[in-house]
């Protein structure tokens, strides 16, 4: 009983002092909020300006092999300001090249998502499947994406499905492995609850395993989309046609170094956006699951 008297006394003490000093909800001044945003935004802008200055300086040296930022701006002005032009053939704005590449990535990644989650669930639940498949996957996943391209060209005899296959085979491994880990790591607590209420089979899978594994699955998807974007650029350089990868290769062949730089900036920004988009979807879908 003495256990209780102590906390009660403590509460009484705090309540007696409370009226003396009325609590006021803390008001965050507007200024400090603006300052907080500035503290986030200014450093990267500042560093970017410094880097561009150094680059500009280096690019203006006699004998410099790469163009300075100012040259990029003047030489590739059309490309920068108008991403939507289309003069037929390969002479298109960057938007069209990027959208062609993204279409391939989405198709390959969609197949990888379905196959990867499916296989991951199988490996996660069946010890036999894990023992049989895991060593094979561990070897296969180390094969660089481009090494698959000749084989897939031989198999499909066309550029488009080959590129999609390369995306698929690149991004499927992290999805499989993370899904399997997620399924294996369903907390014992949840398993116990399911056991007590006799939740079994497909409904156990849908109502407990899948939600519990969702954060892991999304980690796999996020790694997968990043790898896809890495692979598509390289694959398109080899297969040609419309696409940001081939655009870069084509610009190199016609010595348009400034076009390459513009394209690389776009590639980086799109890759960043893809990563953030998958992360955002993951946060929305798994809301609640992580926070415990």
């Amino acid at each position: 009983m003495n256990v209780q008297t102590k906390p009660v006394a403590a509460v009484a003490a705090t309540t007696s002092t409370a009226p003396a000093k009325p609590r006021v909800a803390p008001v965050i001044p507007r200024e400090s909020r603006a300052r907080a945003i500035a503290a986030q935004v200014l450093p990267p802008l500042l560093i970017l300006a410094v880097l561009l200055t150094i680059w500009e300086f280096a690019g203006r040296q006699p004998g410099a092999t790469l163009p300075a930022p100012s040259q990029v701006w003047t030489n590739s002005y059309d490309l920068i300001v108008n991403p939507f032009y289309d003069n037929g053939g390969l002479d298109k704005g960057l938007f069209w090249h990027l959208s062609a590449s993204l279409t391939r990535v989405f198709m390959g990644f969609a197949i990888a998502t379905v196959v990867g989650i499916g296989t991951g669930l199988l490996i996660g639940t069946s010890t036999f499947a894990m023992r049989g498949l895991d060593p094979i996957f561990q070897v296969l996943r180390t094969i660089p994406p481009l090494a698959w391209l000749p084989l897939s060209l031989a198999a499909f005899r066309e550029a488009q499905p080959s590129a999609i296959f390369v995306i698929f085979i690149t991004s499927v491994w992290p999805i499989i492995i993370n899904t399997a880990v997620g399924v294996r790591n369903v907390p014992q607590d949840y398993r116990n609850v399911a056991a007590v209420i006799r939740l079994r089979g497909p409904s156990y899978f849908l109502k407990v395993v899948l939600p519990a594994a969702a954060p892991y699955i999304f980690t796999g998807l996020r790694i997968g989309i990043g790898l896809s974007w890495l692979a598509i650029i390289a694959a398109e350089m080899l297969i040609g046609g419309v696409g940001i990868g081939f655009f870069v290769w084509d610009a190199w062949n016609s010595s348009n170094l400034t076009d390459i730089i513009v394209a690389l900036v776009y590639v980086g920004l799109v890759g960043f956006a893809l990563d953030r988009a998958v992360a955002l979807i993951g946060r929305l879908v798994t809301r609640g699951t992580m926070a415990n």
Partner: protein, 264 residues
């Protein structure tokens, strides 16, 4: 006439250890009885509860509930887990719904089940948080939902595994009062694992004291002869309460000292 819940000659040994955790545990619980199992940590009291729950297979002996030997877990032995074990992606309502839909689908219609879920939320006074997710409510509230979920399964026996162990003293007292109230109203058969002497004396009809493990067994059973409803403030100085408390303390601290402290 056999007991409602009959634990007989229960022995549990884990594969890697030569000495069993529990050996020859005998315990009979009558219908409507509230029994607390107390012992030092590591004596195997949670193991014992897990066997009754069906989550663990006994090495020897067995458990008979209402005339049927238990095999595997089931909703007739609902468990209130120590760490609440709510599914974090479901709201409080949905957590109870999952259990109710799963266990009472054949006996209740959809609307009836909905009413039943709300009834149980009301029973643990959690109506206000029915649409909140577990991470949005306090530890005590989570445990109340855990209790509500267990009760909603209409179990034959309610198993509580140190249900208030992770809560602060004030919240614990509050929840103990609520459990007492619910037990008064529903009269459910309850087996509670605890290491809190006051809690055991306040809540239970009998206190089962386990000796230290390994090879733990029932050392003594104390009848708590206090009239219900019980009031913690009135009981604090009641000689019957004080004596019962002293008896348990004597068992735990004089005759069966905490092995961890002895080693230190």
């Amino acid at each position: 006439m056999p007991a409602f819940l009959d634990i007989s000659r229960l022995t549990i040994a884990f594969p890697k250890s030569p000495v069993p955790v529990l050996s020859d545990v005998e315990l009979q619980i009558e219908k409507g009885e509230f029994v607390a199992v107390i012992g030092h940590s590591g004596c195997g009291k949670s193991t014992m509860l897990n066997v009754v729950a069906g989550l663990l297979e006994p090495t020897l002996g067995g458990v008979v509930l209402d005339g049927r030997e238990i095999a595997g877990p089931g909703p007739d032995r609902a468990v209130v887990f120590q760490n609440h074990s709510l599914l974090p992606w479901l709201t409080c309502y949905e957590n109870i719904k999952l259990a109710v839909d799963q266990t009472l689908k054949s006996s209740m219609g959809r609307k009836e089940r909905h009413e039943w879920i709300l009834h149980n939320l009301g029973l643990v006074r959690m109506m206000h948080a029915k649409d909140k997710r577990p991470h949005e409510i306090s530890g005590g509230m989570k445990q109340r939902i855990g209790i509500g979920r267990a009760l909603a399964m209409k179990p034959k026996v309610l198993l509580m595994d140190e249900p208030f162990g992770a809560l602060d003293a004030l919240t614990r007292a509050h929840l103990q009062d609520q459990v007492m109230q619910i037990h008064n109203d529903l009269g459910m058969t309850t087996m509670m694992i605890t290491h809190d002497v006051d809690e055991a004396v306040l809540l239970s009809d009998r206190i089962v004291m386990l000796t230290n493990g390994p090879n733990a067994h029932v050392g003594e059973i104390l009848h708590v002869d206090l009239p219900r409803p019980r009031d913690r403030l009135a009981l604090a100085n009641d000689p019957r309460f004080v004596n019962a408390r002293a008896a348990v303390l004597e068992f735990l601290h004089a005759r069966h000292t905490n092995p961890a402290l002895e080693a230190a």
